[in-house]
Homo-oligomer: 380 residues x 2
């Protein structure tokens, strides 16, 4: 059984109000290509298929297109679960009418954990799917006393560990937050205060654990307990992540699987550029990837008229501009209460050094004194 | 080939802000029952499956439930098309992955009209499905010059008339407005000014035409060119309609099918009650169907404190209250410009007769004169 593990497609997502649908179509096309090239038996998507519970119609059309290519053209089985961004009922509509075609959508959590035997050219495997669920949902569904995500997961996993897979490898697909996992800025917290963290050891009894939620590829507890990460960078905090899908080949039960990361390339990368405006503009002329999604940090210390407009003449997809040159190097600027007791000259010196990082020069001090004296003279 | 033709389920619809989901579940359950009882081969739903392009999650869950019962339990094929209320992309998601299970959803119109051969115990039939489409959509999709719904339908039907059904009966499923059809208040107009009307004769070359859009059951042009109507009364304008589904048994090609209307009963009927408040309340005590959805027309001519509250003590689902007693019998009240020239006594008499339907009595006239004189006295 050979499959691609991916997650967090977030189809329909925007980056700083910029639609990413073209970028998503481009990267999902690669996943279809990789599925064919590696002759996988299945593609498993571990939740957050869409970005919103009500995805826009063109996002639905894109997923429809990708699924049809995988199932009909590539003859690859597809298994997907609902994440915390998805509407479980909407995603799960008519799921049982699709399964005979090889499309397995697990929308709302049910009291018996979904168990699907996927067919592999070199042996089948059992996939247990646990879509994202609040502890309260597990509590009412199974009539058990659970208050944390970990408690809830423990109860659900108990069903799957007890299940007899007849010697076939066991895979768990879930959308949750493993304790110690590295977050990015583009994930929506599952709960406040850490009650969403789950001990990775809970997943040790399985042959592979295909997780979704965290957007950086990583594993916790064991190499086979993994997040594939999202296929695209969904925030500027992810600029150094290498996005990929995970190619998994299961061996016999209780033997570690082969795992390989297959890199994905983006239609437009997400990058941060720092420098002085003129340098940035100059370098931009020769930049091969002018249409990347950019955050630009300008080091210039003086006011610039329409910096965004000038940058977009060269880089059309500058999405965010930071004037780091106008801030002191210390990012924590505290305005102390004492300041209101300072005289105007002291206050201005202090403001100047905080915002520029430099002290006032002698000539600047003289100029300011003259200016302040002039103002006070005018008042009297 | 024996099938049930129904349409305009509008799952998720409200009636005067009252959710109808329980009522819809109740009546759809009957359709499942009738499908089993009459051993039909298929259930055909001619559009407006949901009431809104983004149906609430519990509406999706209800449709999922009904479809699963029909396909899995009753082994009945289901064919549904998108109407003008549905989101074609959302409804049509993964449609090709469902068709092998016997669930045929035709979401967005495609350049080749959908052609599905449904299996019948006594012979198959070909179903051509034309989901609701604006003429502009047909224009861009097929690159033809059409401006009206009729032009567009003519182009689409041309494909189906030319198609060789190999002697099998031909059924068209569509969501449109036939010229001369009777409207209810609960349909959303397809366009303004009559450009949505289609000549029923266009549909004559087929063996049965299963239409949706109009909420009252009716046929136009020929008995086999039919609207099944909605399964529930979705406005007070439908109180006298008998809601039903249409049972169709096709014979050989070009022979008229057998058609029978199977009545549906509602969990709560939609009714109008007229009378004086005390009579209405008195009769309500013995009313077996107190929880029907009611519009109450009160004939009382005097002000009543909290009439709605009093009525709802007896009839909990009074949704609308009309004080017909406070209006003259002529519903067209015209305030003529001449009125501003009348003196106060004439104006009041005229107002009194318009709103009550009665003339001022002698004693009322005397009282008003005294009142007006008193007011003028106070002014001077």
């Amino acid at each position: 059984m050979k499959f691609i593990h991916t997650s967090d497609w977030h189809i329909g997502r925007q980056l700083h109000h910029q639609s990413l649908l073209d970028d998503q179509a481009f990267v999902l096309e690669q996943i279809v290509f990789l599925a064919k090239a590696h002759k996988v038996d299945a593609v498993v998507i571990a939740g957050d298929i869409y970005d919103r519970s009500v995805p826009p119609a063109n996002a639905v059309a894109l997923l429809n297109d990708v699924v049809t290519q995988l199932i009909q053209d590539a003859k690859v089985q597809v298994l997907m679960i609902a994440g915390n961004h998805d509407s479980h009922e909407r995603l799960g509509f008519a799921a049982s009418q699709m399964s005979s075609s090889g499309l397995h959508i697990i929308g709302p959590l049910t009291s018996t954990v979904s168990r699907v035997q996927l067919t592999g050219k070199n042996g089948d495997a059992i996939f247990y799917s646990i879509p994202y669920a609040e502890p309260s949902r597990v509590r009412s569904l199974l009539d058990v006393e659970v208050s944390t995500h970990e408690d809830a997961m423990q109860v659900l996993l108990k069903q799957t560990t007890q299940d007899d897979s007849k010697g076939l490898p066991k895979v768990v697909v879930s959308h949750c937050f493993l304790d110690g996992g590295s977050e990015s800025e583009s994930e929506r917290p599952l709960s406040i205060g850490g009650a969403d963290r789950i001990n990775p050891d809970l997943f040790k009894p399985f042959d592979y654990v295909a997780l979704g939620h965290l957007h950086g590829p990583q594993y916790k507890g064991a190499e086979y307990i993994r997040y594939s990460g999202s296929p695209l960078k969904y925030s500027f905090s992810e600029i150094n992540q290498n996005k990929s899908v995970t190619l998994v080949e299961l061996n016999q039960q209780n033997k570690p699987p082969s795992i390989e990361l297959l890199p994905l390339s983006a239609l437009r990368d997400v990058r941060v550029i720092s420098g002085f405006l003129n340098d940035v503009l100059e370098e931009g002329k020769a930049d091969q990837n002018k249409d990347d999604y950019l955050m630009v940090r300008l080091q210039d210390k003086h006011a610039i008229l329409d910096a965004m407009g000038k940058l977009r003449n060269v880089y059309p997809n500058v999405l965010h501009l930071e004037r780091s040159g106008l801030m002191s190097e210390s990012s924590n600027i505290e305005i102390k209460k004492d300041h209101i007791k300072q005289n105007e000259m002291d206050m201005f010196s202090s403001f100047f050094s905080q915002t520029t990082g430099d002290e006032l020069s002698d000539s600047q001090q003289t100029f300011m004194k003259q200016l302040l004296n002039g103002l006070h003279g005018a008042e009297e």
